[in-house]
Assembly symmetry: C2
Homo-oligomer: 198 residues x 2
Amino acid sequence: MTIEFFFEISSPYSYLAAFKIEELARRVGAEITWKPFVLGAVFKHIGSGPPAAIPQKGVYMMQDLRRFARRDARPFTMPPVFPVHSIKAHRAILASRKLRDEATMVRVTKGLYEAYWAQGKDISDMEVLGEALAGMGLDAEAVEEAMKSQEVKDELRQYTDEACARGVFGAPTFFLGDQMFWGNDRMDFLEQAILEST
Amino acid sequence: MTIEFFFEISSPYSYLAAFKIEELARRVGAEITWKPFVLGAVFKHIGSGPPAAIPQKGVYMMQDLRRFARRDARPFTMPPVFPVHSIKAHRAILASRKLRDEATMVRVTKGLYEAYWAQGKDISDMEVLGEALAGMGLDAEAVEEAMKSQEVKDELRQYTDEACARGVFGAPTFFLGDQMFWGNDRMDFLEQAILEST
């Protein structure tokens, strides 16, 4: 049983989900495939935009995020640079897998989520990104080199195209086979579906 | 402690919430003020539209609603007439309070939710609406007469204006003082907030 986890670094609800999905998977004995994608490209594909584009929704989302962060006991800050250009961060995540392995990719994903959503760092800045990667024990120059490879660029594009093709419209989105679950707040339905299918 | 419950008859998540809010209120010893409002007017005010206007979101919402209906053990059907013109139903709800009392209004609200979301009846049709009201033991003609009163029309407008003024952007929306909670899926946060403030 595999959970496909589509996430976007600039999505705060994806940040919350990224720190809960492994525990969920352990509880039910499932595997996780981590799939970074470019949410902005999905919004463009379906003709929508970020929820906070509606001011009333933006104001409320901040309260909602603080409630979830408190419940999950996760540090949360509204980054000074938001929305952030997240292509580099996503490529760094995929480059870390190319250079090492899946476990490193997961560690880098969570590290970059914390750099951005807990510490408010501008991870679209290559210098800031490099420091964050070095802080996780990676060779920042090697990662930056791998980020420029066609393979890494193609992977990010493929996950984004896949998200579009499978009807994704927000982040995080989980798939269990062809069952889709949207949102940090639907992980309970995801877990229930896994339990019922095993 | 009072929960203000802003609901719209054409909103399926409001339907689910309407059948859970009384039990929640009982558990925590809170009162409920039921406030029907016109969601379409709120969408117009904030420059947005219904979620299902984005096809991918519409497809997913049906799955999501079926998951909630199953969890809540609530009958759920996608009504043949959707979206429905809900002004008459909202006025009938307010007219029933004018003619009788708050308890009758709540009973009529739940009855009309079932007529529409469980039985798929077109409650924008005055004849169908009248039959539903008669089935709940009300004098349909008297309700229809009261629906035409300026008082009832004004009440619906006031609740809608109030929703706009307080930053509502969807349904259902709950208020606990100035704390806002949006969605059938945030009733847990609402309950927690009540418990923490008492």
